[in-house]
């Protein structure tokens, strides 16, 4: 009924289906406080049959919008450590560019879909495990705080290239956020996700910044990471403007409902629900990979 032609993907889709998918993922994003790209990209491919490279590129374009929106709120609340964000960006901009080049070379491979789905299975498994660790730690708040202090202290004690972060009130080796940015940037470029679920725990546990500063700083640097990634993917013919806009409309609506629902649902049950959704997506991807080998 609401059919629209996606010119870059060269296919007809129902725009309502994309918006519903966007609402669904946006809702989960708002509910769990995540970006949602790691669910959106595989679902675009599984549910709507959008080619993986287009789903990846267009999602990164959408991440540029959602992170810009989020950064406004975090800037108002004073949650952004600009110096730390600049250091992360030195790595993440290089990383995302490398990721885009890597995806471009993988695109030619006959096993492109298999490789990307394999990466997503690995990625979603890591996310699941991180959630499990985080759940176990958050149950013991005092121990969690101690673990953060112990781990981050070890890294802060490295004297090499030490730099002061007045906003966060810590001193860290400058190469640490640069390397973290590089790694997350490569993952973002290849998979089309913002990488917040990796960067935020790294900033908390390794760098030792407060959770709100970690989230705010990550979202701010994500604008530039996603913008560079989006430009790179668009140059490689991986970004469909219509798809990105429809996803953005849906996720903007869904995120508002998701954020409101958080207050009505217990945190432990929210995590369980996300685990169920991730497991379902992983199972479908595994079926796809098995199907490839048949």
């Amino acid at each position: 009924m609401f059919e629209i032609y996606l010119p870059i993907a060269n296919m007809m889709v129902d725009s309502l289906e994309i918006i519903i998918l966007g609402i669904f993922v946006g809702f989960l994003a708002g509910l769990f406080g995540i970006g949602g790209g790691f669910i959106m990209v595989p679902l675009l491919n599984i549910v709507l049959g959008i080619p993986m490279n287009i789903a990846i590129g267009s999602n990164l374009t959408q991440v540029a919008a959602t992170s810009s929106s989020g950064a406004v709120a975090h800037k108002k609340m004073g949650n952004i450590d600009m110096k730390l964000a600049s250091l992360i960006l030195m790595g993440s901009i290089v990383g995302v560019s490398l990721g885009v080049i890597l995806l471009g070379s993988l695109k030619a491979s006959p096993a492109f879909d298999l490789i990307i789905k394999g990466i997503y299975i690995l990625l979603l498994t890591v996310i699941g495990l991180l959630m499990l660790v985080e759940s176990a730690l958050s149950a013991k708040r005092t121990e969690q705080r101690q673990i953060i202090v112990d781990i981050s202290k070890k890294f802060q004690d490295i004297g090499f290239m030490s730099i002061e972060l007045p906003k966060s009130g810590i001193r860290i080796p400058a190469f640490l956020p640069i390397m973290m940015g590089l790694g997350v940037g490569i993952i973002a470029g290849v998979t089309g996700i913002g990488g917040g679920f990796i960067m935020v725990p790294l900033l908390i546990y390794i760098v030792g910044v407060r959770t709100v500063i970690a989230i705010g700083t990550d979202i701010f640097q994500m604008i530039f990471l996603a913008a560079v990634g989006s430009i790179g993917h668009a140059l490689n013919g991986n970004v469909d403007l219509y798809l990105a806009i429809l996803m953005l409309i849906g996720s903007s609506i869904g995120a508002q409902f998701g954020a409101r629902t958080t207050r009505r649902v217990k945190a432990a049950k929210i995590r369980l629900l996300l685990a169920v959704i991730i497991t379902m997506v992983v199972l479908h991807l595994i079926m796809d990979v098995i199907g490839w080998f048949k």
């Binding site: 540029a64 959602t66 975090h74 953005l248």
Partner: protein, 194 residues
């Protein structure tokens, strides 16, 4: 049910909502495409983004799936589905009876160009050349390459983009637009990553 507190009810409703959505969406889920058994076919376009009405050159590398050796002497053909834009074409069709002419309007979306032969350039490397015949200023085409040899036949597809304007203009425009929309949402609603 009476003893259910507000949070449990919220959780129950949420689970019902998500599973209902998944059930609604399940007919849309695409089937797993059968993959090639005999050949590894790699499609490498000369450029990532072409211009409309430009000659597109694509190299197709064909290797044996089991031995990984180049497959020589195969029959390699391409089918292209090219986006034409949502334009209305007026057609005049002579009436079968009488002297009248039917005036028809049709919405042109895609054009299929079939059986374009690829030429073997080197061992296992085939080159396909075809003009991107389109009225659209920007869009995509789907190239479907079929390789046939010794009674075995396999097909792979690859999407290729084209645009009449500079690709840098598109890349910067799309990204800037996205950021502007995001900032707009952020300033209006206070951002949704709170």
């Amino acid at each position: 049910m009476k003893g259910m507190n507000k949070k449990s009810k919220g959780m129950r409703n949420l689970i019902i909502a998500i599973f209902t959505l998944l059930i609604i969406m399940s007919p849309m889920i695409t089937a797993i495409e059968p993959q090639g058994k005999y050949f590894d076919i790699t499609i490498i376009p000369e450029k990532e983004v072409f211009s409309p009405n430009e000659f597109m050159e694509v190299n197709i590398i064909v290797r044996d799936k089991t031995t990984n050796k180049p497959v020589m002497g195969a029959e390699v053909t391409g089918n292209i589905s090219i986006y034409q834009g949502s334009i209305i074409e007026k057609l005049k069709i002579p009436a079968k009876e009488g002297r009248g002419i039917y005036l028809m309007e049709q919405k042109l979306i895609t054009m299929e160009v079939g059986s374009i032969p690829a030429v073997e350039r080197e061992d296992g490397i085939y080159t396909l050349k075809e003009k991107i015949d389109t009225k659209a200023r920007w869009g995509g085409l789907t190239l479907r390459v079929t390789v046939a040899k010794d009674g075995h036949q396999e097909t792979v597809t690859r999407g290729i983009s084209f645009m009449s304007f500079n690709v840098w203009f598109y890349a910067l425009g799309v990204t800037s637009l996205s950021i502007v929309i995001g900032l707009g949402i952020g300033f209006i609603s206070g951002g949704f990553h709170r």
